[in-house]
Amino acid sequence: MPDNPWMTAPSPDAELMALIDRIGHRDEAALRLLYDRTSPKLMGLAMRVVRQREWAEDVLQEAFLTVWRVAGDYRSSLSPPLAWLGLIVRSRALDLLRRRTADRAQLTQEFDELMADTLESDAPNPADTADASEQAWALHQCLSQLEGRQREVVSLAYLREMSHGELADQLKLPLGTVKTWIRRGLEKLRVCMGRFA
């Protein structure tokens, strides 16, 4: 298959995987290189989940300490390297949110302010695909086909692990609307992602 992009496209994955392997062998210099390469991206992800800079930096710190400890297990995960790092950050971020449920009221308020922007403007897909895996690039293409608000609701459901009810509450949308957007969004993703499989 000479036209298979997996075989020919220059991919940053190999470089990131080599760094993670070195970290698995306790190479601190490799951790620094990985941090320099991926921390802005992962900080962006942490901010998107927890919304506060200070919290996001705590999440980033915990995530890189986790990477330091579990890098040796990376290969068995079969994930693209940046997605693997992203899952660690998301998991640490959700942990932090669970710990801060006491501050929920404040969080919700900031969340509403943020959402007032994103849901009204129907901004173009803001994704930054530098360093993203082939799979992420495919997802990016497919998410771009969704209407802005649908894309936002689907993204938040995943990144913040929110239920239909929680999304409806926080976005001040009828529950039926949230359910419909998510169902239609997933249906479009199903058809679109099928073409990349």
Binding site: R26, E28, L31, R32, Y35, S39, P40, K41, M43, G44, L45, M47, R48, A56, E57, L60, Q61, F64, L65, W68, S79, P80, L82, A83, L85, G86, L87, V89, R90, P126, A127, D128, T129, A130, D131, A132, S133, Q135, A136, A138, L139, H140, L143, S155, A157, Y158, L159, E161, M162, S163, H164, I182, R183, L186, E187, L189, R190, M193, G194, A197
Partner: protein, 256 residues
């Protein structure tokens, strides 16, 4: 219902499962099916992988440089602890080997030992109480540690553990490698302040553990310590190191 006969529904359920919006009984039923039927499990894993890439697509934000400093400090501290544990385990293993040698040859069969066992049981109770009391004293008198450094040789092998106890105003040094400077030489400890000349913190003798009087100002804002090999008694006051630097390492302020 046979999900495998309805591929579109299977995909949608797998996608909702991975997204996290499939909840409650529906989620449990889907997971039960996935455990039983490989194609269902495969669809679930495919969608988990696809949606995981959502984490790769967020706009970048540069974190504060202090975040890396905190990560590095925590990893350095963890590494130092591991190095010390390895040294201690090795030392304990050697001590255990020595202790066992004279007893080989059947201590289990020793009548005297079994006779003594009952008495030992009683003694153990007394000891346990005594050790409990001692432990409480020890905890009470445990050194406060404010700064820690593990000084390593040029092959990164830990050679000296340095801690600063602000309560007793002293630096406590513990040799953790097998280095011996010989009878005609001395090791000398130096603070390496940023942009300044090395400042002597004292000369070490041959003991495995050693204490040097020091105040917090001696170690505050000093990023690293080093040990040089000098003529017996060290270099004269006011002079910098004359011999080679053998060990060095970062000085970390403990925050917890």
């Amino acid at each position: 219902m046979n999900l495998i006969a309805h591929p579109e529904l299977l995909e949608l359920l797998a996608a909702s499962h991975a997204l996290g919006t499939l909840r409650g009984g529906a989620r449990r039923r889907f997971e039960a099916l996935a455990r039983e039927q490989a194609p269902v499990r495969a669809a679930a894993l495919v969608w988990q992988g696809r949606l995981a890439s959502m984490t790769e697509l967020q706009p970048s934000i540069t974190p504060d440089p202090a975040v890396w400093t905190r990560i590095r400090n925590m990893i350095d501290a963890e590494q130092s602890k591991l190095a010390i544990e390895r040294q201690r385990d090795a030392a304990n293993a050697r001590a255990a080997d020595k202790a066992q040698q004279p007893q080989q040859g059947g201590w289990l069969r020793s009548l005297a030992l079994w006779r003594g066992a009952t008495a030992a049981g009683a003694l153990a109770t007394v000891l346990a109480v005594t050790i409990g009391l001692n432990l409480r004293d020890q905890l009470h008198n445990a050194p406060a540690v404010q700064y820690v450094a593990v000084l390593s040789d040029d092959k990164d092998a830990a050679s000296m553990l340095v801690t600063f106890d602000p309560k007793k105003k002293q630096l406590v040094l513990q040799r953790v490698g097998g280095f011996s400077e010989g009878d005609d030489k001395s090791l000398q400890l130096w603070a390496l302040p940023p942009g300044g000349a090395p400042r002597s913190l004292g000369v070490l003798d041959n003991a495995p553990g050693l204490r040097l009087a020091a105040s917090e100002s001696d170690v505050h804002a000093v990023p690293a310590l080093a040990i040089s090999l000098e003529a017996k008694g060290g270099v004269p006051a006011g002079s910098g190191p004359k011999g080679p630097i053998l060990f060095k390492g970062a000085l970390i302020e403990k925050t917890i």
